[in-house]
Symmetry: C2
Subunit: 81 residues, 2 copies
């Protein structure tokens, strides 16, 4: 599928940043976001998932610590090759 939007549960106990990280991780592992591809920008994630920028950044930071993406100031966040 394309553009399918797994939505976020703003009430549930799972932190928003973790839910978002889970969604993005799934997109990477499914190949929807292939190696080398630039991830949606923080601003885009804010608009798409209705979270604060800090929350989006925290999700991406988590993925970076997992080695799934690389963040580069001024360029973006890229799926690890």
């Amino acid at each position: 599928m394309h553009g399918d939007l797994v939505s976020i549960d703003y009430e549930g106990k799972t932190p928003l940043w973790r839910q978002l990280a889970d969604i993005l991780r799934a997109q990477i592992e499914s190949g929807e976001l292939p190696p080398g591809r630039r991830m949606p920008s923080e601003t885009t994630l804010v608009q798409t998932y209705q979270v604060a920028r800090g929350t989006a950044a925290k999700a991406l930071d988590a993925l970076e610590r997992e080695g799934l993406v690389e963040r580069v100031q001024g360029r973006g966040t890229f799926v690890t090759e």
Copy 2:
């Protein structure tokens, strides 16, 4: 020495959270903060070093990722045994 306060350079290029992490790391490695000891709370760090709480938290998070401390909600941040 005791209670010596290495101060922070608010102008310099090094991020405040990193400067603070460096200061605390030095205190751990010098034995001033021995294994098992509770670190100063975020609130204390805010008052001592004149930074925002988020900045103090970021410094402690960095030390946790380095394995130097362990953070426990409701209890505090402890030097790793």
